[in-house]
Symmetry: C2
DNA sequence: CCCTCTAGTTGTACAGTACAACTCGAAGGG
DNA sequence: CCCTTCGAGTTGTACTGTACAACTAGAGGG
């Protein structure tokens, strides 16, 4: 396999993966879509943030985030706390239930990945991981990237 | 980085990629969604096939394929030819325009991938490619996989 | 000739998304 | 102190991709 073939293969396989990913994530965890999972994860990591921050960070429209947030609140996975200083702002926090579901989905996702990768030599895992990091970290020369 | 960390990283980066992929593919080629592109590509490779074959191959519902096909036909990118032997069957073929658009999108996708990967050493490209192939080729032990 | 199987279409529903128009509160300049 | 402008969020609307269920129409075996 030469470099050009390798690029072709990467293209093809990334396309296959992209097409499958959401649906299979959804099948794996009907209770928490990939988007909700990501947003919940961000709230966990950040320890609470504004809807606008989520929108900016994930390059989503604020209306999209607004509705996601509304759904997550309806499901009692997050709660909104009005910012005392700026009454336009709602700071989003995980509820106990949210933290639990997130942990549970994280665990089961981790288990699925471990299972899928269990036969890989450690060396290959490390290389694959660093390739993916490098691939995702790429920024378009014109700087028009959406962030993750 | 040890193996467990590597698995975590792979999980995280694949998730990031999955979330971004469709949207960015759509932005890249507003004229041909990732699904349409994939279906057109399959018709090119197979030299014409039935809607049912597409549905089976990509684990899509036949109604989904039916509507995709209808849209592609409306756009004059494919045409349906009634099978002479079995009048239930429509064999789908690329039109000239379809072949052209497909080639054009394939080229521009290829260019985008090349650009994104241009600084990678050939050795890394080959390793990344084979990791992806291996990753996507995995079949769940219970055999309940959807095909690509 | 009926029964059943298969290919495909259509009705309906839902998730995720964007854009545009809106409300409400904040902040700064006359 | 008002007025304009800005930022955060919500809501109306629309579109895409998707699935499931109900249907039509052709094929093929008893």
């Amino acid at each position: 396999m030469d470099a050009d073939e390798a690029v072709e293969t990467i293209q093809r396989e990334m396309t296959v993966f992209a097409r499958r990913a959401r649906a299979s994530a959804g099948r794996m965890h009907p209770e928490l879509s990939l988007v909700s999972y990501t947003l919940l994860g961000h709230l966990e990591e950040s320890g609470g943030c504004r809807a606008t921050d989520l929108a900016a960070h994930y390059a989503l429209d604020k209306s999209t985030v607004s509705r996601q947030v509304a759904a997550l609140e309806r499901a009692r996975l997050i709660e909104r706390r009005l910012d005392a200083d700026d009454h336009r702002v709602q700071v989003l926090h995980l509820t106990h239930a949210g933290r639990e579901i997130l942990a549970q989905v994280t665990d089961s996702r981790r288990a699925a990945f471990r299972e899928r990768l269990e036969d890989w030599p450690a060396e290959d895992l490390e290389r694959f991981a660093s390739c993916l990091v490098r691939y995702n970290a790429w920024v378009r020369p014109d700087g028009a990237n959406s962030s993750d």
